[in-house]
């Protein structure tokens, strides 16, 4: 069943720029153009692209915050811009960089208010709250004022807040930004459970490709306002030939390392950068390097979104 239906969606903004001493020129910027995709109920989709590519403009149109300039858009059978309040009851939105919780009040109070304004049946609310509190380990924090929570705790609170009314779709905007590795892992685990057990459709924007790897069967890449890729992450890697980087700190300076499966891109004193395909395992390369050289330290750099997109163009 198609839950989000986007056809030839476009959104232009008028930008006024100062020109000369008094004059102002009016230019139209196409933030989103010719955007077409649909998302079925129960999918987990990563929506990625460089800054300014049109990600948040798209999410704003999907949630009814922005009216599209042209094109067809239906979410859960509703037209977001004209049926915004009806749609609000069926979706949950989490903004990673700011909270919608009441800063000075205990977490519990924010949840109670949401139960009232979403008019959630009290019995169902209690059941949901209990479940999410357990899954997200919020039990001890319910009576803590939000301002005293850590970033990770607050994010878990915000996600609970977005889910208490049983939304069909959950939009997450950079949900793991600023979180430590452990918190990121737990959050991803929770989102997988949510999708598997409740069938909640997830759409997330992120700069962290590991979020996508851990969660999304499907990736939509947007650049300059339009979808440049739509498919599984593995295809994206294959198509772009995107590469990971192994950073090796040797004990002493050495000529470029030569191991099978990787090529040395850069040498700077005792530090060397080895690149290898993103789809391949790092393990054999690491052991080959460690066996042949005296290694002080190792780290792996994931390709970032900008690299992946550059690779798409390079491969195309």
């Amino acid at each position: 069943m198609t839950l989000i239906d986007v056809r030839d969606l476009a959104r232009t903004f008028v930008v006024r720029k100062r020109s000369g001493r008094l004059g102002r020129t009016r230019t139209e910027v196409e933030a989103v153009r010719d955007l077409t995709f649909d998302i079925d109920a129960g999918e987990m989709v990563g929506y990625i692209g460089p800054n300014g590519a049109g990600k948040s403009t798209t999410i704003k149109m999907l949630t009814g915050i922005l009216v599209p300039t042209s094109g067809h858009l239906r979410v859960s059978g509703l037209e977001p811009s004209t049926q915004r309040t009806d749609l609000a009851r069926r979706i949950g939105v989490v903004f990673g960089q700011r909270t919608t919780l009441w800063w000075d009040l205990p977490l519990r109070d924010s949840f109670e208010l949401l139960q009232k304004i979403y008019r959630v049946d009290p019995v169902r609310h209690r059941r949901n709250l209990q479940e999410y509190v357990e899954l997200l380990d919020l039990g001890d924090l319910l009576d803590t004022p939000v301002r005293q929570l850590s970033l990770g705790q607050r994010m878990r609170g915000d996600i609970t807040a977005a889910l208490l009314h049983d939304p069909e779709i959950l939009y997450l905007d950079e949900p793991t930004i600023g979180l430590d590795v452990v918190s990121k892992g737990r959050l991803r685990e929770f989102l997988r459970t949510l999708n598997a057990e409740r069938g909640t459709t997830l759409m997330l924007t992120t700069h962290d490709l590991q979020d996508i790897e851990a969660l999304c069967d499907r990736v939509i890449v947007i650049d300059h306002g339009t979808a440049v890729f739509d498919g599984p992450l593995a295809d994206l890697h294959r198509r772009g030939g995107s590469r990971r980087t192994l950073v090796v700190d040797l004990v002493d300076e050495a000529p470029p390392i030569e191991v099978p499966g990787a090529s040395t891109r850069r040498v700077e004193g005792p530090r060397q950068w080895l690149s290898f395909p993103a789809g391949a395992s790092a393990a054999p390369i690491v052991s080959a390097v460690a066996a042949a050289y005296a290694v002080a330290d190792l780290s792996i750099q994931e390709p970032d979104i900008e690299d992946v997109i550059r690779d798409i163009y390079a491969g195309a």
């Binding site: 903004f13 008028v14 403009t57 704003k60 949630t63 009814g64 915050i65 922005l66 009216v67 811009s81 915004r84 309040t85 009806d86 609000a88 009851r89 979706i91 939105v93 903004f95 700011r98 919608t100 009441w102 800063w103 000075d104 009040l105 109070d109 924010s110 208010l113 009232k116 304004i117 979403y118 004022p145």
Partner: protein
């Protein structure tokens, strides 16, 4: 009709729920809460003390005595006090646009106006209303009360609230176009309030005309109070002006409603 009633009732409930959250938030800092309550009561009290001092040296202001001016001052004060208490936060709409909180509000199933007005609801604004009530009670001593006059006084106060309501909303809407226009809006809301604290007779005729037909604050208190005080209109305007405040309130509310919807439409169609 039943649908509209249900929607209005729902909106009022939601308003109260959200406002209650802010009251509880404020009580998380009890000291600063009480300091603000006392402070705002003192400031508004000093305002009237100043007026009283003025009468100490000049017994009449534009032909009106202290008690009569108190009646005008109190009526207008109650109006703007209630409006400020209930929806004064609408002034912050530009801030919500700038910081992006408006987007979060747009994803909630509660009318945007309700959310913006209930935001940062502050009980301390009650200080201003209680001060205005005291001044109004003092001024009421200058009226020969009849049942009709009591009725008109009630209508006047309610209309005054609604007219100031409309001003707050309508002028705040400008912020959808130019984000930093709070000061401009204040010129009409608090400025309008300041002008209605005095008898209109101290202003030239043109100003009165402006305050009647353009920015109709004279209907907040001036025309009804003339009737309450049993005075003929010093500018010779029709006596029935005393009774049309509710009509004027209806008109200003309509304009405010239109301004709000077009402001929101502008926001959702430009995203800024």
């Amino acid at each position: 009709m039943a649908e509209v009633t249900a929607a209005v009732r729902g909106a009022c409930q939601e308003y109260v729920w959200i406002a209650a959250m802010w009251v509880r938030s404020a009580l998380a800092y009890p000291w600063s809460f009480w300091i603000l309550v006392v402070g705002s009561a003192l400031i508004t009290l000093l305002d009237f003390v100043g007026l009283g001092l003025m009468f100490h040296t000049i017994p009449h202001l534009g032909g009106f005595g202290l008690r009569e001016v108190a009646l005008l001052y109190g009526a207008s004060g109650i109006g703007i006090g209630v409006a400020d208490l209930v929806i004064g936060s609408v002034e912050q709409v530009g801030l919500h646009v700038r910081t992006g909180t408006l987007d979060a509000m747009l994803t909630r199933p509660v009318p945007l106006l309700v959310q913006v007005c209930a935001d940062r609801f502050a009980v301390r604004r009650l200080g201003r209303i209680s001060q205005a009530l005291v001044v109004f009670a003092y001024g009421a001593g200058s009226v020969d009360w009849t049942l009709a006059k009591v009725g008109l006084a009630l209508v006047m106060v309610v209309s005054a609230c609604l007219i100031f309501f409309s001003f707050f909303v309508a002028f705040s809407c400008i912020q959808f176009w130019t984000v930093d226009s709070t000061e401009f809006a204040n010129a009409f809301t608090y400025g309008g309030n300041t002008m209605t604290q005095y008898p209109m007779t101290i202003f030239p005729r043109e100003v009165l005309k402006g305050l009647t037909f353009l920015i109709p604050v004279a209907f907040v208190n001036w025309y009804p109070c003339l009737f309450l005080l049993g005075r003929p209109d010093p500018f010779g305007l029709p006596g029935w002006f005393a009774f049309v405040s509710p009509v004027v309130a209806g008109l200003t509310l309509t304009v405010a409603g239109l301004a709000w919807t077009s402001g929101v439409r502008h926001y959702t169609s430009t995203g800024s």
